[in-house]
């Protein structure tokens, strides 16, 4: 039986961690993820878990602690945001190349600088090439559900990669919603035990983290690339079992009113809720608007995404982080690349929005759809790289 409870996204993730009872939690505070180690500290203080709770002196050390612990044969978890993730970058790559399925709760926040505590995706997008799996959530429920699936995906024998469970800072991490929580025993049964084949502490000695010379290093990087490809199957398998067990359906993305859509958005995270409201409003007015809410960014479901967009006339990719490449954000670059091989490519623009917490309302989303309708009608794409919601209206193309 599921239990309906009022929780913030942070508390929901902490709750999932308690139910899983990982071996080691490496804790370091940073807004807006701080509540996760705080809730967990209370579980430790109350004896609700027997996890070793390691209060490190930095995020670099939290990821290093996770690497040591996971290599030693236990599940290691941590939580971070923004500059905390940036401070871990070096170790994110080490975790992935060492094939350690560590779980990180990423509460997305703008990457400094300038320093800003609000939500965008620049922190985890910056880590997109680090070799971590990345799952994103629209709301607290999805953050909770993704966390319950994380370890099984990451620990799959032909995957063995670390995984980031991302949610939007403050918007979902601090908003209190009704969330369906699963029973402890059901969660434990679903997640199962961690049984790595080799560890530092069991069986014969093991060595981790070699100096990998030119003679072998590329083979190891290719194996890692293969593992990322294999993760697609693992995600679908675990998601299917999750649906069978708990009744909530997940895939690479949610295609919302896409069957007959002529104009569509591709976006990540909590903005999907706003966009769905907009789609409903437009549909009532006869506009064939659709939405793709990407759940899985790593591995990038290029083929599936392209197929879902193949019949659409005009697409706006909504990037909640700046690409700083002079031509668009990361989601746009990958979506455009995914669609390149389509026989009939949709017209496509990039809308960078919500940077550093800039609000995005239903009306803003509607302006994007209206812009797409003009593109679909005229066939003229115009400016492809647009920033939405900036203070000086002259900059607005929409």
């Amino acid at each position: 039986m599921s239990i309906r409870e009022r929780l913030s996204g942070n508390e929901a993730v902490a709750h999932a961690m308690r139910q899983i009872n990982p071996g080691v939690f490496a804790a370091f505070p940073i807004t807006p993820s701080t509540e996760i180690p705080q809730y967990f500290a209370q579980y430790v203080a109350d004896g609700a878990v027997d996890t070793e709770y390691v209060t490190v002196e930095s995020e670099h050390s939290s990821m290093s602690t996770c690497i040591g612990a996971q290599a030693a044969g236990v599940r290691a978890v941590t939580a971070t945001s923004s500059a905390g993730m940036a401070f871990m970058y070096e170790m994110l790559y080490v975790a992935a190349s060492s094939r350690l399925p560590i779980t990180l709760a990423c509460v997305n926040r703008a990457l400094t600088g300038p320093i800003n505590i609000n939500n965008d995706h620049s922190d985890s997008m910056g880590a997109r090439d680090s070799g971590w799996l990345q799952l994103y959530a629209e709301n607290g429920q999805e953050a909770y559900d993704n966390f319950l699936q994380a370890m099984r995906i990451a620990e799959t024998a032909d995957v063995r990669l670390p995984i980031m469970i991302c949610q939007d800072g403050f918007i979902t991490s601090h908003a209190v919603e009704n969330i369906l929580l699963e029973e402890d025993a059901a969660v434990k049964a679903f997640v199962g035990d961690y049984t790595p084949r080799h560890t530092l502490l069991q069986g014969s000695a093991m060595a981790v983290g070699p100096y990998d010379t030119v003679a072998f290093c590329m083979e190891h990087k290719v194996q890692q690339a293969e593992a990322m490809k294999n993760a697609k199957r693992a995600i679908l398998n675990v998601s299917a079992d999750f649906e069978k067990t708990f009744g909530r359906k997940y895939g690479f993305f949610e295609a919302y009113r896409m069957e007959d859509a002529e104009v569509a958005l591709v976006l990540i995270g909590s903005t999907a809720g706003t966009a769905k409201a907009c789609v409903e409003g437009l549909r009532e007015k006869g506009v064939k608007a659709g939405l793709i809410k990407l759940r899985v960014f790593r591995p990038f479901p290029a083929k599936e995404l392209a197929a879902a967009l193949s019949h659409v006339k005009a697409v706006a990719v909504m990037d909640k982080s700046e690409g700083n490449n002079g031509c668009g954000g990361p989601l746009y670059a990958e979506t455009a690349a995914a669609c390149y091989d389509l026989a009939h490519r949709p017209k496509m623009i990039d809308v960078v929005y919500g940077v550093a917490g800039r609000d995005c309302e239903v009306g803003d989303i509607e302006r994007v759809y209206r812009h797409l309708l003009r593109i679909a009608e005229t066939g003229e794409v115009g400016e492809k790289y647009i920033h939405m919601g900036v203070r000086t209206s002259e900059q607005e193309v929409l």
């Binding site: 071996g23 080691v24 490496a26 027997d50 996890t51 070793e52 390691v54 209060t55 490190v56 002196e57 930095s58 670099h60 050390s61 939290s62 290093s64 602690t65 996770c66 690497i67 040591g68 612990a69 996971q70 290599a71 030693a72 044969g73 236990v74 290691a76 070096e90 170790m91 080490v94 060492s98 530092l200 502490l201 069991q202 000695a205 093991m206 060595a207 981790v208 983290g209 070699p210 100096y211 990998d212 010379t213 072998f216 290093c217 190891h220």
Partner: protein
Amino acid sequence: MAYSHKTELSKPERFVGGHRLCAGCGAGIVCRAMTRALDEGDKAVITNATGCLEVSSFLYPYTSWEDSYIHSAFENAGATCGGVEAAYKVLKKRGQIDDSYKFLAIGGDGGTYDIGFQSLSGAMERGHDMVYFCYDNEAYMNTGIQRSSSTPQFANATTSPIGTASTGKPQRKKDMTAIMAAHGIPYVAQTTFLGNFKDLHEKAHRAIYTPGPAFVNVMAPCPRGWQYPAELLPELCRLAVETCVFPLFEVIEGQWHLSYEPKKKLPVEDYMRLQGRFKHCFEPGNEWTLEAAQKDVDARWEQLLARCI
């Protein structure tokens, strides 16, 4: 039981040959000595900071380490070792492991005094049951002899070169062992390679078998960086101790103990003369560097004597 060098050396090696460290390098000697200090039957996990030792002892697919070993980066041996130790604790708590493990971390002075300082300090403060060994060769040797905060004043290093306007490194050596003692951890020691290795062995053993965090700083000369003939390594270590450049001491539960007091403290120039990195100090006009080096050693020695009971 009294220390017997012969008995100790008859134990199976846990850091074996085939590694690519230079002839006359101190790092490999530290590795053999610290693993020899493990009681037979006790298993160990070695955590290693990036450096000469790491790139010379674990080149895929070969390793010189008989025990489990993990390297993850340069600046985080403390935290990585702490993570392994935390995993061991939880496995013990859950009854999922029977063996008895010890946790040894090792890094050079770059990975210890400088870039790894924060991670080490954190791990010590948190109280992980581990020993951190520093093989102190007084510069970034792996990248080609750049100065570190452990490099002594006047040493010629590639980022503190001598020149018409320079007599080598301007700054004094950081007193890392005292800083570690200030963490209030149960055991801190300073040692080097002397005679039958009794001092190093006993300190390593005490560090490993003292519950909680411990730190052992081992002077480990580098023939390339210090510029001495490889066979002079033992003589250099002896002179470092006899001149009080690198005194032997322990800090046990906050109590400072001097391990050895030279009968006749030798002048520091006896130690410096054997090393190419100080060659310029002996040139006419640079006499003041020898005087300054002596003054610094004297002051540190007096301070140490005052601390010791």
